[in-house]
Amino acid sequence: MKLTLKIWRQAGPKAKGQIVDYPVEGISEDMSFLEMLDVLNDRLVREGQEPVAFDHDCREGICGSCGIMIEGRAHGPNRKAATCELRMRSFPDGDTLTVEPWRARPFPVIKDLVVDRTAFDRIMQAGGYVSVKTGQAPDANAIPVPKHHAEEAMDAAACIGCGACVATCPNGSAMLFVAAKVSQFALLPQGHAERKERVERMLAQMDTEGFGACSNTYACEAECPKQISVEHIARLNREFVRAKAL
């Protein structure tokens, strides 16, 4: 395959970025999108140019490191797939692809396609946990959890923290990310003791970081590589109202 890539290049956080065109050749349909970038980078290094910086690690869709806007779609055109899971057979030969970093105020660009997502960590620090010290736990089977609650909690817990929901949202909202964690713990008895403080603190931190509010476009669910449902946002809202009412 041959492709033309239009890639966002930005030397550093304060540098001015621009789109640069790169033709790539000899691409196999079995390659992942990131392996295609490896081919480009190999050539750039050999030519004495700076390779394109991008975050990646597990390359099997679970660590959440990668995240690239491809033709304006977070993680590219395929559903249920992170960028690293995207194969080149998803694109026609000769295609032109615009390749950009996540764009959201709370995710500043570090270099090229690499952004700073530590805002997510700070939201987690605000309340994304159950306060249990090591060694305090009762027997694991002491509290039965109905299977459907456990399954729904797992649906939410599948979030990989990649930030596609934010990148794709017209408001740059992190509601789906926050909802996934709040919902997981709201569904499990272990999370109930702190449910009020959790939802209040996590949402407050979300606002502090500069993420927008949900405007119900549901783009987040559509682009989420783990297909996390906006129903969890509904549960987040219920938890918030509940916290305020009680």
């Binding site: 290094v45 249920k80 270099k111 997502r117 987690m124 946990y129 060694g135 039965p144 456990a150 272990q190």
Partner: protein, 667 residues
């Protein structure tokens, strides 16, 4: 050569750990606040250790190379975590888990550590459930289990195919809670590039801020390495792209012995290599072997036709299929341990029976399972005389509910529907049992430096059983180190903060700086990956699933040549004082180029076969691994002497007081 003291406590094995905990030093709460601990790596071992130590009151600094602690590669573990809970009432016990782990490791692990691992396993599940980890449950709301490669009881807890993710997020949430409280200072996008030893004790690290390129000095009273395994020395592995040996290797050069580096686990069920562009390999969970049957054609001409694309697996009649694991190992069948399953696949493919273009793949077939489940479902739904299609439809639903995400992943990568055509799989490097030598307290040969999780060597011997890596990472972090570290730290309460403006820190930083400059200034012609791929090929061909003396000697020569070439011809673009991913890779590959030689040296010296270390010269008539317990029942721990080839061997004799050494048999 010296004899290493493992500091295993006296007494009967089932009382060692309790007795040890009762007599270990304690640090009082006020004094804990005066003690700083560095934790490098935020996988299961690192996150759980950092969170637990901070909860206890120590001041913790945590480092990871990723942009967030949550991304460490523990997250990719699919299948599950073992624990001796006996919730399924199938006769499981601490003893049985210990027995399976020790036997599975081919009697090359330290008995007391393995027993302790089994002993604390049940508490891990309690801890994780309390954190809100959504394990699979049955309809009564209690925890579900499955059986997993190499075990005859159902002791594996799981969260769909994402158990590692859920356990890591549990530990990460505990860690984030402590970061929020200010008890842990988190340094993400930081890489440890040297260990600082002062007066014979580990006193800190030199880390590079990967965003700015700045070198930083961090002092502490103890350093914990939780930095995972070194499988990426093979270039292609199931490890994440960034997984590396650098922190462990730098520590090795500062005095930590590297134990059994040749023990590598090759996982039997991975998606085969598709071409030269391949950057990593993807594991298909071992849980698939519970229902999938592994086979190759019986006839060479069928295999040839498949390799040439003239036939498909589904064209081969039932009687022409060779279910070689069921044939060779009737009692364990497709569930034999990983090393056995991997070697059996290689044996068939080497004999010409492989089932893809490269001849390096075997089938993992679910058609029998689909039919079996379909018939069961038909009974449940009172469908009499269901048609073949109906049975298939019902069966596919069951298989999809159990393994749907894995089937989707396979189809996405390979571009072929695994419900229609049998999956193709081949072994790939997955885990390294070897690692830095530690005593019973998890302390390395550098006092004050501890090693946890995959980075150490102690619990799995020469082969790790499925679902035991998660268990070990969390056992070390939650339930071992919080107790054992106090033994050392109790002596540090009057030390005061560790100063970093000393000669030792200065020299270590200079050392790191000059190595970076050397990489930047080489200005050769070849990118880093070029050398990494060459190294990987040598390692895979000559120090992989099967090894022999001649191949290993050649490998050592070849690796030396690649290393020499690397330092002459590597090209690292950009600058050192900026975000520079090529520079990061270059540093890691430089260390792999040294480690690889030591692995070969270790494999060459171990004139026996055990677990994942299969020396072709030492096998039974039936082609099974042949141990030599008289001469090799020891841990081989290597001391750095300025060059990998000059490493000096030290031994820790392995004593087995509970189990009789026997040849592993899964027949």
């Amino acid at each position: 050569m010296s004899i290493l003291d493992s500091k295993v406590p006296e007494g009967p094995i089932e009382r060692k750990w309790t007795a040890h905990k009762n007599h270990i030093h304690l640090v009082n709460p006020a004094n804990k606040r005066r003690i700083d601990v560095i934790v490098v790596g935020t996988g299961l071992a690192g996150s759980s250790a950092a969170a637990s130590l901070a909860e206890m009151g120590y001041n913790v600094k945590t480092f990871c190379y990723q942009d967030s602690a949550r991304r460490a590669h523990s997250i990719a573990a699919q299948g599950g975590i073992n624990a001796a809970k006996n919730y399924q009432n199938d006769g499981d016990s601490v003893y049985r888990l210990f027995y399976d782990t020790l036997k599975g490791g081919d009697y090359r692990s330290r008995e007391a550590n393995t027993y302790r691992l089994a002993e604390v396993s049940a508490s891990i599940i309690d801890q994780c459930v309390a954190q809100g980890v959504p394990f699979a449950r049955d309809y009564g709301g209690l925890l579900d289990n499955r059986s997993f490669g190499g075990a005859q009881v159902s002791r594996t807890f799981y969260a769909r195919g994402q158990t590692g993710q859920q356990l890591l997020l549990g530990a990460y949430s505990a860690l984030m809670r402590q970061v929020g409280k200010g008890k842990v200072k988190m340094y993400d996008r930081h890489e440890m590039l040297d260990l600082v030893v002062v007066g014979g004790k580990a006193r800190g690290i030199i880390a590079r801020n990967l965003v700015t390129g700045k070198l930083e000095r961090h002092g502490a009273h103890a350093v914990l390495l939780c930095t995972g395994g070194y499988g990426n020395v093979f270039f292609l592995s199931t490890n994440a792209m960034g997984c590396n040996v650098t922190a462990a290797w730098k520590s090795h050069k500062r005095g930590a012995f590297m134990a059994n580096p040749c023990y590598t686990q090759i996982h039997p069920t991975c998606i085969p290599v598709s071409g030269d562009h391949q950057s990593k390999l993807t594991l298909m969970s071992e849980s698939l072997r519970n229902d999938g049957r592994i086979w190759v054609p019986k006839k060479l001409e069928d295999a040839k036709a498949i390799q040439q694309g003239k036939k498909k697996g589904s064209d081969i009649a039932e009687e022409d299929r060779d279910y070689y694991l069921e044939r060779r190992y009737p009692s364990f069948g497709n569930l034999v341990p990983r090393d056995v399953a991997s070697r059996a696949a290689k044996e068939r493919c080497d004999a010409g029976f492989g089932v893809n273009r490269t001849g390096e793949a075997v089938y993992l077939d679910f058609s029998a399972a689909i039919e079996r489940y379909g018939k069961m479902e038909a009974n449940v739904h009172h469908i009499d005389n269901p048609s073949k299609e109906k049975v298939r439809e019902l069966g596919m639903k069951v298989v999809s509910a159990k393994y749907g995400n894995l089937f989707d992943m396979y189809e996405n990568i390979v571009g072929e529907n695994p419900y229609e055509h049998p999956m193709k799989i081949y072994p790939a490097v997955h885990y390294t049992m070897g690692g830095l030598w530690v005593d019973y307290n998890l302390q390395s040969t550098v006092p004050g430096m501890y090693v946890l999780g995959e980075a150490n060597f102690s619990d799995h011997g020469a082969n790790r059983l499925g679902a035991s890596a998660l268990m070990q990472g969390l056992a070390d972090g939650y339930f071992v180190i919080p107790y054992t570290i106090a033994d050392q730290l109790a002596g540090e309460i009057r030390t005061g903060p560790i100063k970093t403006d000393t000669t030792e820190f200065e020299q270590a930083e200079q050392h790191v700086r000059s190595r970076i400059e050397q990489l930047m200034n080489t200005k050769g012609t070849e990118p880093v990956d070029h050398f990494h791929k060459r190294l990987g090929k040598v390692m895979w061909d000559k120090c992989g699933m099967a090894r022999n003396a001649k191949g290993l000697q050649e490998a050592i020569e070849e690796i030396r040549r690649i290393r020499e070439d690397f330092w002459k011809n590597v090209r690292v673009p950009g600058k050192a004082d900026e975000f520079n991913q090529e520079l990061e890779k270059a540093g890691r590959v430089a260390d792999f180029l040294e480690l690889g030689e030591l692995m070969c040296k270790d494999a060459l010296h171990r004139n026996e076969s055990c677990g994942g270390h299969f020396r072709e010269e030492y096998q039974t008539e039936e082609g099974e691994a042949l141990r030599d317990d008289n001469n090799f029942a020891y841990v081989g721990a290597w001391e750095w002497k300025g060059d990998p080839g000059a490493a000096e061997l030290h031994k820790e004799a392995l004593k087995f007081t509970v189990l009789q050494l026997s040849q592993r048999s899964y027949k």
